[in-house]
Symmetry: C2
Subunit: 409 residues, 2 copies
């Protein structure tokens, strides 16, 4: 890359981020890879904090993912350490030692057990993580902990991200107002070099870990798992939800009582997922694909993902070409039930193709105008059932090649 | 696109193509989409010609694929009509009528049954195929049939191809010399707009259709099904093998007697498949990926394809970066058994990573030199079993975006 990556044209401003009771944090410069910017985040959670986590399905996960998976059954979190610049993946025993050293240093300075320290790393793969650089600044970070640094936290975890990502909501739970605030980084869903997807969500609600976990898993499934930049899957993807129990609500597992919290959690995750797509490497357009009429919701999602991951569909969108032939191709290659003679396709709300062919008298004027915009909407009706899903992606542009074809060198 | 697509730097020259006894052909300009070049191919086969075919697995196939599938059980071929510029896909009843009109016209001029006329179309999707333009030149093509026009045939079926593709071998069968010659087009494996993969192979051997079919299916599985440009699957991919029975061998189904024919067929298909990859849209480098030590050959192929289809691996290769971290990621996302601590990766014959980490003292000098070449070799050892597979792809470059982001407009 000659010079920094320009800010995505789809970027959104960072919202105002009020503190979440029970969460304090500090950011520092360890110089792991980047110079002149923050690259380490330390967070401290109230003693009552419960935790839920969802991790990459990649079978070659990073050492921090393995660590988090091991301690998650404990259900309690007292700290979080995140570093940017080195993913600590594929480092063998050295990777495991770096994880242990980082957790031990954080546990010592916070006065808690290492088994309650969550870790995440993002950056290059296969280079030893210099954990000593993180350990060296740990006491300084501890001395600097403050509740009102969420925006700094969002910046410290960035890698190829061109803008910091955060979202916040409030909800009613057990008669009290609670906060749900999240930060995220990621600019491929997936790129293992520099674009792992990490997200951390904080709430002051009191919710048992065993209640938190299925809610997080479902919300991730409907947000982060509905977006794709380039079909690759990072070795480090991590979403953690921390509930500090400081809001004063009575813990509950009643689904009705939790409905508003679930709504707030879903909205925060949805917002963060959209920001990740908006910062997709090289993205010039945000693309929503809704598939209706599939034989099941699962089938609809697979068809949607086949369209969203098709390089031919994505390059056509980059070229502002409403190329529904490529959408037909992508539906057909999904391997899900489909009948070309029942298929209908709309772009920007205009139905271009129905019943296996182009709509007679189809006027492409509104579609051409829609394709020139920043937000592209594609609707596909399979015509076989009631299955429905929406997925999001971005276009595939020269910027993606620029970023990924020359990053490391 | 401003101006024509430049010839691939990986292009190979067209070999000398001697006639195949029992095959004659003519090419013509129907002006379906292209002006000033040939776009229709008519072939006539000896009355004794048997046929085998393998077609796209896309569930929204083109009308010509449906037609070929319907007549294939007959096992006899007397003619072939191929047009470039319009794929006759997603045209509903009009597509079916275009197919019938073309087959009827060819059958009439050749004096044979329409059920022995094979058809293939490649080009844009969803625009009605003006079959009348093909029908109008059919008698002229018939008058012009000649055995020595295979090179012209290879050119007439091109779309975004930057060079014509053909391969030829001889084999011994039943005591006589027989010819095996094939032509192909395709410059994504897959692109439905203009880059469908079509291949037609001709032999003068006498081989029953029921013996031909499994041989073709296996040879396709080991050649065309081991290459990928961008993971998309055309609605029109078609491979047809015609055996004219003019060589004078006695028909046989004895596997031993057919061994040398199988070898020649495999070599022709392998050569053609390599040419398709070499003409991959925007390709600057040909990439061979061999996966060893997987739990099965099937598992090895799935891992190889996950690497070959990874946009991050492909852009890294375009950037001449031996980014083995991205290869680790791709192995992990394949969903096949893998253990990151047993994984080994070599580029250009140099083992960079072994046993879950970088090789101590690894010197990247030879790897850097290898990455600057036109032909890139990646070896992955999973370390779990004896499964092995080799797949081929090309790099992902700005050229791919240029071609696919602005073709139709």
């Amino acid at each position: 890359m000659a010079g920094p990556i320009p800010i995505s044209p789809l970027a959104l401003p960072l919202p105002s981020l009020p503190p979440v009771a029970g969460v304090s944090m500090a950011v520092g410069q360890a110089g792991i890879r980047y110079q002149g910017r923050t690259d380490v985040l330390l967070m401290k959670f109230a003693e009552s904090t419960t935790v839920a986590g969802v991790f990459t399905k990649n079978l070659c996960p990073g050492a921090p993912v393995t660590w988090c998976r091991e301690i998650l059954p404990g259900g309690i979190a007292h700290g979080l350490v995140v570093n940017a610049g080195n993913a600590n993946v594929f480092n063998g025993v050295a990777g495991q030692r770096a994880v242990e050293a980082t957790a031990a240093a954080a546990a010592k300075t916070l006065g808690v057990s290492a088994g309650t320290i969550y870790l995440a790393s993002t950056g290059v793969i296969g280079e030893p993580l210099p954990a000593h650089k993180i350990v060296a600044i740990m006491d300084g970070l501890h001395a600097d902990l403050h509740p009102d640094r969420l925006a700094d936290a969002a910046r410290a975890i960035m890698t190829t991200d061109t803008f910091p990502k955060a979202a916040t909501r409030t909800a009613r739970l057990g008669g009290v107002d609670i906060a749900v605030t999240g930060i995220a980084k990621g600019s491929g869903m997936i790129a293992p070099d520099m674009a792992t997807m990490l997200s951390f969500i904080f709430t002051d609600a009191a919710i048992p870990a065993e209640v938190l976990q299925p809610m997080l898993a479902k919300a991730v499934d409907q947000s982060f798992n509905c977006i794709t930049i380039d079909s690759d899957t990072s070795t480090s993807d991590t979403v953690l939800l921390f509930a500090t129990g400081q809001a004063g609500n009575k813990p509950t597992d009643d689904p009705t009582a939790l409905a508003d919290f679930r709504r707030a959690l879903s909205e925060v995750l949805h917002d963060l997922a959209m920001m990740v797509v908006r910062d997709g490497e090289g993205a010039q357009k945000l693309v929503r694909i809704t598939v209706d009429g599939a034989v099941s919701n699962h089938s609809a999602k697979r068809i949607g993902m086949a369209i969203a991951n098709s390089p031919l569909v994505k390059t056509a969108i980059a070229g502002e070409d409403a190329n529904w032939g490529r959408i037909v191709m992508a539906v057909g290659k999904a391997g899900e039930p489909a009948d070309r003679d029942k298929l209908a396709i709309a772009v920007g709300g205009t139905w271009m193709a129905k019943a296996g062919g182009i709509v007679p008298g189809y006027d492409e004027t509104p579609v051409v105008a829609h394709m020139k915009g920043r937000e592209i909407e594609i609707d596909v009706d399979i015509g076989l059932g009631n299955g429905r899903a929406t997925v999001w992606t971005c276009d595939l542009t020269h910027g993606y090649i620029d970023i990924n074809g020359s990053y490391r060198s």
